[in-house]
């Protein structure tokens, strides 16, 4: 299928910016998060201290990654109140707005895996061996079991997400190898391999946002002309079919917990099939 790049029609209909709106907003969001952490060490303007695992914003707002918090619990340590409050705030936010919002809008690894997926499409790579999408839940369970068995946060010895974040924010060396490894894995071995199949952090946030309010709807699915562009760009393409093709559900809402709320399907659709909405919006043109 070398005919047209996904989104070509959308660019024609909506213009380049219209067809990249959510992508651009996402990149801005990811960079803003980083910038809030970097303004302190770089310019002495302290907005957020710490890193995405746990931070203190403007000296008052504590935020703690619930996955790390749970690992610590599994290792047999009950973190102090500040971390508990921080984790509670984060849990509440993502439970409301979609757990994997974190993946699409915050996590810096997302840009790396997106780049690998983009290059893979451009090069027309079809090769590879993709692990089962459920592997991430086994890694998630395994990381907690390993923490319990060893009484230490062993997953953090290798967790590429926290390694990359920390290195970016603290200017540590040693993370480039991790970035290259993930990029190469996604490009050469498994399409969307890391974020879509292995990352336990993504799995954790997915579970967290199962019942979230914010959802993507394929409310204009009657207009769909089967160009498949949304399936091509979606990092979790399996989530689209039930809503778009009424496979196993009538609702036009994408209800699968793996949807990252990235909005690329909205961008790339020349027929404006998809929109952001809330979980109770059942409107649909077919």
């Amino acid at each position: 299928m070398e005919t047209m790049r996904p989104g070509a029609e959308a660019v024609r209909v909506k213009g380049w910016f219209g067809a990249h709106r959510w992508l651009i907003l996402r990149r801005i969001s990811q960079l803003t998060v980083l910038a809030l952490f970097l303004s302190g060490p770089w310019f002495g303007v302290w907005i957020a201290k710490g890193n995405l695992v746990s931070s203190l914003t403007l000296g008052v707002l504590p935020l703690t990654d619930p996955y790390l918090f749970v690992q610590s619990l599994a290792a047999g340590f009950m973190p102090a109140a500040t971390a508990l409050i921080g984790a509670a705030i984060v849990v509440a936010f993502y439970a409301l707005f979609g757990g994997r919002l974190y993946c699409a809008w915050v996590c810096p690894v997302n840009a790396v895996t997106d780049a690998a997926a983009w290059l893979r499409r451009r090069l027309g790579l079809k090769s590879g061996r993709v692990p089962d999408a459920n592997t991430r839940y086994w890694v998630l369970a395994g990381s907690l079991l390993a923490a319990a068995a060893t009484s230490s946060l062993v997953w953090e010895a290798v967790n590429p997400v926290t390694i990359v974040q920390r290195s970016l924010i603290f200017g540590l060396g040693g993370s480039l190898a991790v970035v290259i490894a993930i990029f190469a894995y996604d490009l050469l071995v498994a399409s969307r391999g890391w974020c879509g199949h292995l990352c336990p952090m993504g799995a954790f946030y997915g579970l967290l946002g199962q019942k979230s309010l914010l959802r993507i709807t394929a409310d204009q699915r009657g207009a769909c002309d089967d160009c498949m562009d949304c399936f091509t760009v979606c990092p979790e393409p399996q989530v689209i079919r039930p809503a778009l093709k009424k496979a196993g559900q009538d609702s036009p809402l994408i209800l699968d917990r793996d949807c990252t709320n990235c909005g690329r399907c909205i961008d790339v659709c020349g027929r404006n099939v998809f929109h952001f909405t809330h979980r109770f919006d059942q409107r649909s043109d077919s």
Partner: protein
């Protein structure tokens, strides 16, 4: 197999339960479980070498014992950010210190023993225990005068730098006066560390004038020896009980010491053995 985990899933209308589909499903679960377990095992192996902190890396004040610390520290770096002297660092990926955890290297930047202990206050988890509210109670490590052959004071010179920079001077580190047998007319002032007062701040190691310090701060587990449980120190028991527990000892005469109190071994006048014969 008593219950078939796939039965429920395939009982849904539309999904015809065929043994092929079931086998596929079970296969994919097995593959996922296998990959997941392998990845976790890899993480455990990768994390293992970092389980014991290397001797050069000291934990911040208030850090829980290393095993507990590795369960408690979520590697956020808030302690690092709030240390005004840039003492603390986060371990980068690939370091011998557990990836992402805070540590400091005494010889590079020592801990200044801040009165308000900002690093401890910053820690959201309690990995640096808030129970530490007097920095003098900190036990980041223990200084050890590890090399008697190069320490300038042991050579009979006056250096004393470690002694003089110590924030807990005359308690954590003292100069013990010992007769210099080599010159026979000088004292050696031996820097001596006392574990009950040393905080492990590392200032002595940082300040040692030698190209490689003769005094080093080590994690306590590495630095300390341990007496057997049943040992009692006679002089302590004596002080505690107001007298020797085994009663007075038989006094044996020592030749050449007649007329001196028992236990006084000092020699009068120039003693043959010790005089080097040196003349100005």
């Amino acid at each position: 197999m008593q219950t078939d985990p796939t039965a429920k899933l395939q009982g849904k209308p539309g999904a015809a339960p065929t043994s092929v589909a079931r086998r596929k499903f079970l296969n994919s679960i097995a593959a996922a479980a296998g990959t997941g377990c392998l990845l976790t095992l890899g993480a455990v192996m990768a994390g293992r070498p970092a389980a014991a902190n290397p001797a050069q890396a000291l934990r911040p004040p208030g850090a829980l014992a290393e095993e507990d610390f590795l369960a408690a520290c979520i590697r956020c770096g808030l302690c690092v950010r709030d240390c005004p002297y840039d003492t603390l660092k986060l371990a980068p990926f690939g370091d011998t210190v557990a990836n992402g955890t805070p540590f400091f290297t005494a010889r590079q930047v020592a801990c200044e023993m801040c009165d308000d202990i900002p690093c401890v206050k910053a820690c959201p988890t309690g990995a640096l225990t808030p129970k530490l509210n007097d920095i003098h109670e900190a036990k980041m490590g223990l200084a050890v005068l590890s090399d008697h052959e190069t320490c300038l004071n042991f050579l009979g010179l006056r250096c004393d730098v470690c002694y003089r920079v110590c924030p807990v001077i005359d308690q954590a580190i003292t100069l013990e006066n010992v007769h210099n047998q080599r010159s026979d007319r000088h004292a050696m002032l031996l820097p001596t560390v006392h574990s009950d007062h040393c905080t492990g701040c590392g200032k002595c190691e940082k300040a040692c004038v030698l190209p490689e310090p003769a005094i080093k701060v080590m994690p306590i587990s590495l630095a300390r020896g341990k007496l057997p449980e049943h040992y009692r120190k006679g002089w302590e028991e004596k002080a505690k009980h107001g007298g020797s527990l085994i009663g007075d000892q038989v006094e044996m005469p020592v030749r050449g010491m007649e007329g001196k109190a028992y236990g006084d071994s000092r020699v009068d006048g120039p003693a043959a053995g010790l005089n080097s014969g040196w003349k100005p």
